[in-house]
């Protein structure tokens, strides 16, 4: 019984798993670039912060489970949903009390374009191309 060969086989299995995990991390980074293309490299901002759009369905609301949480009583707990398909973003009203205004127009379901101003209750958000932070 050659224990050295057994130990080497186990060690190689460990190393192989590690190499695949490192490859997976590298794929994660290249995946971010691909996602930027899918999501047309857009982001949402307000006066204080920038919200990256990293998922194909993004809930905006006051509730703790919302992807973009806006702690303002004028915003419903489940206010709006952002969706992306074929690189086009749309915003949907999911039963909010105060409604969604895009560039001052009350909408229920509309496609978004660069520099659109979205008003949810008293809060104003800007949908724009992602800017690289210096």
């Amino acid at each position: 019984m050659d224990i050295a060969i057994c130990a080497a086989a186990v060690a190689l299995l460990d190393i192989c798993a590690l190499v695949i995990l490192i490859a997976s991390y590298m794929e994660k980074h290249s995946g971010k670039k691909v996602w930027s293309k899918i999501a047309a490299d857009m982001e949402l901002t307000d006066e204080t912060r920038v919200y990256p759009l990293e998922c194909d369905e993004i809930l905006i609301g006051r509730h703790a489970s919302a992807d973009i949480r806006i702690q303002d009583m004028s915003v419903s707990r489940y206010h709006a949903m952002l969706n992306v398909t074929d690189g086009k973003w749309t915003i949907n009203d999911i039963g909010s009390k105060s409604g969604i205004y895009v560039n001052g127009e009350l909408v229920r379901h509309v496609r978004l374009y660069d520099n659109d101003v979205i008003t949810l209750g008293n809060r104003r958000l800007i949908f724009r191309k992602r800017r690289i932070q210096k």
């Binding site: 060969i5 057994c6 130990a7 798993a17 695949i20 995990l21 794929e27 996602w35 369905e57 909408v107």
Partner: protein, 429 residues
């Protein structure tokens, strides 16, 4: 497309790992002729090479899960070919290829959630058809359908379909409708009904080992609905749901038939030749194997019934050592945990990954802890490692779904790229 250097490096390491296992078989294994090892090596390396060549044609964004799958499948091929003496296990080789093919099918079918959501009714119909097949052709007589040249276990195929049913219905969480006094989501009621019927069928078929797997899939998908917008599950609701499940579990144990109670409360060492036969032999084999095993094909467990499926963990421990058996389990866990490294970008893919991880983890726990006498022995297979075509194909399909979550497509099913680059006019949809 991933980095070609990391792709090539991963290919090399997978082949080298299989090579080291084959070297271990050559040095420590039991074989009649060197030709047995050459045939086995040729089969393993050929499968590796062909899959590495084919994979890039699918133009995925990630390949890590595929590498893990191939690593595990050929490890399984080497294990199965060495039980009771080195030989080329052609049947297992074919099931490994079937698993890889079903992985590709799972990837293609599930990568675009907008497309699969339009086919939701076919998923439900598929479950219904399988239920009818179980009702007509299997049942309490046997879980298997014998086709002569092969046997099929139809209940295995329900697992990926149940995961798909849970994932495709998650978007319906938004569509609450009035039913009397309550606001309900019809899909949730249908899913609950489907799961309850599946569990009742499994009970009727006496395949109690599969019930925890189906329950785990449903439970993981149920809990994931908390994360989905507008699910509105409060902690109170969850505590009530958990308590109901606990009470139902206790009632099921109390009302369980005598043969089930025998399994649950059996003392295997007081009855080593009947109720505790497989487990006592499995525990002795694990102990005799030690850290590095007796050598491939040199164990005695291959003489015990279901050595290659239900107690495969113990058979590997005996011949390859506990360290290698644990590493194999770790590889399976890493494969299902890949979505943690590269998270899915939609609720549908997230739900799918969680359902598959729950199913695999539950099956692994039932198989390993069952053969080690830590829980009652169930006879559930260890995904990809145990022999069995139905299990291999469905497990391959489920891994294909994880691959789909890693390389998703976000496009409308009817989308066709426009030839002209004209800008569309702005309009309200």
């Amino acid at each position: 497309m991933t980095n070609p250097v990391s792709y090539l490096l991963s290919c090399i390491f997978v082949i080298v790992t299989h090579g080291s296992m084959l070297m271990n078989v050559y040095t420590n294994g039991k074989y009649d002729s060197i030709n047995d090892i050459i045939t086995l090596s040729a089969g393993v390396i050929l499968l590796d090479a062909v899959y590495f060549i084919i994979m890039p044609f699918f133009k995925q964004r990630t390949y890590a899960v595929d590498f893990m799958l191939l690593l595990i499948l050929n490890m399984s091929m080497i294990f199965q070919s060495c039980f009771g003496g080195v030989h080329f296990d052609a049947k297992h080789f074919i099931t490994c290829i079937a698993a890889l093919v079903s992985c590709r099918i799972g990837y293609i079918a599930c990568r675009n959630h907008r497309w699969i959501q339009t086919k939701k009714k076919f998923v439900w119909a598929g479950i219904a058809v399988l239920m009818v097949i179980i009702l007509l052709f299997t049942g309490s007589r046997s879980m298997w359908i014998d086709l002569g040249f092969m046997s099929i276990q139809p209940s295995e195929f329900i697992k990926p379909l149940l995961v798909l049913a849970c994932a495709t219905s998650i978007a319906e969480q938004m569509n609450k409708k009035k039913l009397g006094e309550f606001n309900v989501v019809y899909d949730n009621l249908i899913l609950f009904g489907i799961t309850a019927i599946i569990i009742l069928f499994q009970w009727w078929c006496r395949d109690l080992g599969s019930i925890p797997t189906f329950a785990a899939i449903y439970a993981s998908c149920f809990f994931l609905r908390i994360c989905y917008p507008k699910a509105k599950f409060s902690k109170k609701t969850l505590i009530i749901a958990g308590s109901v499940v606990g009470v139902l579990g206790i009632i099921a144990i109390i009302l369980a038939p005598a043969y089930v109670k025998d399994r649950i409360f059996a003392d295997i060492w007081s009855d080593p030749d009947a109720n505790g036969y497989q487990q006592t032999k499995a525990l002795i084999a694990i102990a005799e194997g030690g850290w590095f095993g007796k050598g491939a094909g040199k164990g005695f467990l291959h003489k015990v019934f279901a050595y290659e499926s239900d107690i495969v963990f113990a058979t590997i421990s005996e011949e390859w050592g506990l360290l290698y058996a644990l590493m194999t389990v770790l590889m399976l866990l890493i494969m299902v945990a890949m979505p943690l490294v590269n998270p899915p970008r939609s609720y549908y893919h997230g739900t799918m990954c969680a359902g598959i991880a729950a199913a695999f983890t539950m099956q692994m726990a039932l198989n390993i802890f069952g053969s080690c006498n830590m829980i009652p022995f169930t006879g559930v297979t260890l995904p990809f490692i145990s022999a069995g075509g139905s299990s291999m194909v469905t497990s391959g399909l489920m891994v294909g779904m994880i691959v789909a979550a890693q390389s998703p497509v976000f496009a409308n099913p009817s989308h066709k790229p426009k030839k002209s680059g004209k800008k569309r006019k702005r309009r309200t949809v």
